[in-house]
């Protein structure tokens, strides 16, 4: 018993044995390849299909409705290989196009096509987008994960950790990125966002499914179909197992971080809340003074009566001032932090230098974001330019109020 496939040859249905169908398909595919670039390709293929149909009809009768494999082979042999006649004169563009396929057969013809596919998604074509599918907030982490080819869960954890370490600067960064990074809405943008490789679970599953159905199309044999499905399921199982393990690892990681930051606190010392409030107030006041200094430096070129030397660019002055502010606030911050964690310099306490380093990391991040925005977004650049007179005005009025009182 054999499986029978019905084919349409130039408008007529014929039933062929499966292996005969394969032979015919290969013959017609090869013919189409040979005729690639021939202006009359479709017509020639139709003629050839018609001729094959005529030959099939000759072997069929009232009591014979299926063309067996051997008959298909005989018909194909009788037809002879399709040669592009214009290729013989070697002056048509079609001849050159057909040549590589002719030389290397099936493998050779698949080669250039595979190369084209790779050319569509070089590393440069990848772009940073926000991806809404499967996103939790704005799709920033999703997009970053796709861009850096890292599981989105890891990016999210990094973001949470960053936010915890920088006391909220991570959230600010997220908001800024939400404004800066466009959303991938068209399929092309989505493709550019994901590059060539699956990075999120959704993407992986989508691709796997696609491959699964693509594979199914090519299997008309039930046996092969079943085998394919079995393999697919096995792969999916293996992948799911890996994914679960990864999730578990991530969760453990996360819990560890959580415990590190919100671990058991020491019983609050008497008067600690007062000390904490005082420290907080002091550091807020110092920060405000620092911000005023920055504003006055930007607006008038001087902070607290100290003029910025003409040879030093303004941005260096601003960054330097920010560094100074951080240094001034540092002892207060370190003290405050040490209160939060159980015991002074307890196991959960990152140490005073870590606190300083965190401040600088946040500062560097802020500077980087502002610099990037200023450089690449015209609106932000203009806004910053316009900010200056406003700042000057604000600084002037503050100074008057300060001196007047």
């Amino acid at each position: 018993m054999n499986i029978v496939i019905t084919v349409n040859l130039n408008g007529n249905a014929y039933q062929l044995e499966k292996s005969g169908y394969d032979v015919l398909r290969e013959y017609l595919e090869n013919a189409a390849r040979q005729l690639a670039g021939n202006p009359d390709k479709d017509e020639i293929i139709a003629d050839i299909e018609q001729a094959i149909a005529d030959k099939f009809r000759a072997v069929l009768g009232p009591n014979k409705t299926v063309v067996v494999a051997k008959e298909v082979e005989a018909v194909v042999a009788e037809m002879g290989p399709v040669e592009d006649a214009s290729g013989a004169s070697d002056n048509s563009p079609g001849a050159a196009a057909a040549q590589p396929g002719a030389g290397a057969g099936v493998g050779g013809a698949a080669g250039p096509r595979a190369k084209d596919g790779a050319g569509d998604s070089p590393a440069g074509a990848k772009r940073l987008y926000r991806i809404h599918e499967g996103a939790m907030v704005g799709g920033v982490c999703n997009g970053l994960g796709a861009f850096f080819n890292v599981d989105v869960t890891i990016i999210r954890i990094l973001f949470v950790v960053l936010t915890l370490f920088t006391w909220g600067a991570g959230l600010l960064l997220y908001a800024v990125m939400m404004f800066l990074i466009p959303v991938a809405s068209t399929p092309t943008e989505k493709a550019a966002a994901c590059g060539g490789s699956p990075s999120t679970a959704e993407e992986f599953i989508r691709r796997a499914r696609e491959g699964y159905y693509e594979g199914m199309k090519t299997f008309h044999d039930k046996q092969a179909h079943r085998e394919w499905r079995r393999r697919f399921k096995q792969e999916m199982r293996g992948w799911r197992h890996n994914f679960r393990r990864e999730m578990r690892d991530n969760a453990r990681h996360w819990q560890l971080n959580w415990r590190l930051h919100w671990g058991p606190q020491a019983p609050v010392m008497p008067g600690a809340w007062f000390a904490l409030s005082l420290l907080k107030l002091l550091s807020v006041a110092l920060t405000l003074a620092g911000l005023y200094a920055v504003a006055s430096l930007v607006a008038t070129g001087a902070a607290f009566g100290i003029m910025l030397p003409a040879s030093v660019p303004l941005w260096v002055g601003v960054v330097g001032l920010l560094v100074v502010i951080n240094l001034v606030v540092w002892p207060l911050k370190a003290m405050r932090y040490s209160y939060y964690y159980h015991g002074l310099y307890g196991p959960g306490y990152p140490g005073p230098f870590a606190v300083l380093w965190n401040s600088f990391a946040g500062l560097a991040l802020a500077v980087l974001v502002v610099w990037l925005a200023n450089r690449y977004i015209p609106g932000v650049h203009e806004g910053l330019e316009q900010l200056r007179p406003h700042l000057r005005h604000a600084v002037e009025s503050f100074r008057q109020w300060w001196n007047g009182s």
Binding site: N10, G11, N12, A31, L35, N38, P39, D40, E43, I44, D47, I48, Q50, A51, A53, D54, R57, E78, M79, G80, P81, V82, E83, D84, A85, S86, A88
Partner: protein
């Protein structure tokens, strides 16, 4: 290398000339052409003939018309155009010239 192998490209090049000759006699369809060539040194197959006919039609040497057949769907019947007849005449002359040269060479 056998003689038939050596002359394969020459036979291939002559095919167009032969097809012109066959079509010039009568309106024919592809099976007729194949039948005429069958058993000769120039025996060929559909896989070669269809692309060749399509090229000749593109060069306006032949034209075809659809004709009903009793044994199935309508068929393409080919005939020569004026340009095709002219080409056939020129090629025949040239072929005779070639034959003459081959015949006369080496004879003293």
């Amino acid at each position: 290398m056998s003689i038939t192998e050596k002359f394969s490209s020459i036979r291939k090049g002559l095919l167009e000339f032969l097809v012109l000759k066959i079509i010039s006699a009568d309106k024919v369809y592809v099976a007729d052409i194949l039948k005429e060539l069958h058993g000769t040194e120039f025996a060929t197959q559909e896989g070669t003939l269809y692309p060749l006919l399509s090229k000749m039609r593109r060069e306006e040497l032949v034209d075809y018309e659809w004709k009903e057949s009793d044994a199935g769907p309508p068929r393409k019947y080919y005939k020569l155009t004026a340009k095709g007849r002219e080409q056939l005449r020129e090629t025949s002359e040239y072929w005779q010239k070639l034959g003459g040269i081959v015949k006369n060479l080496g004879q003293k």
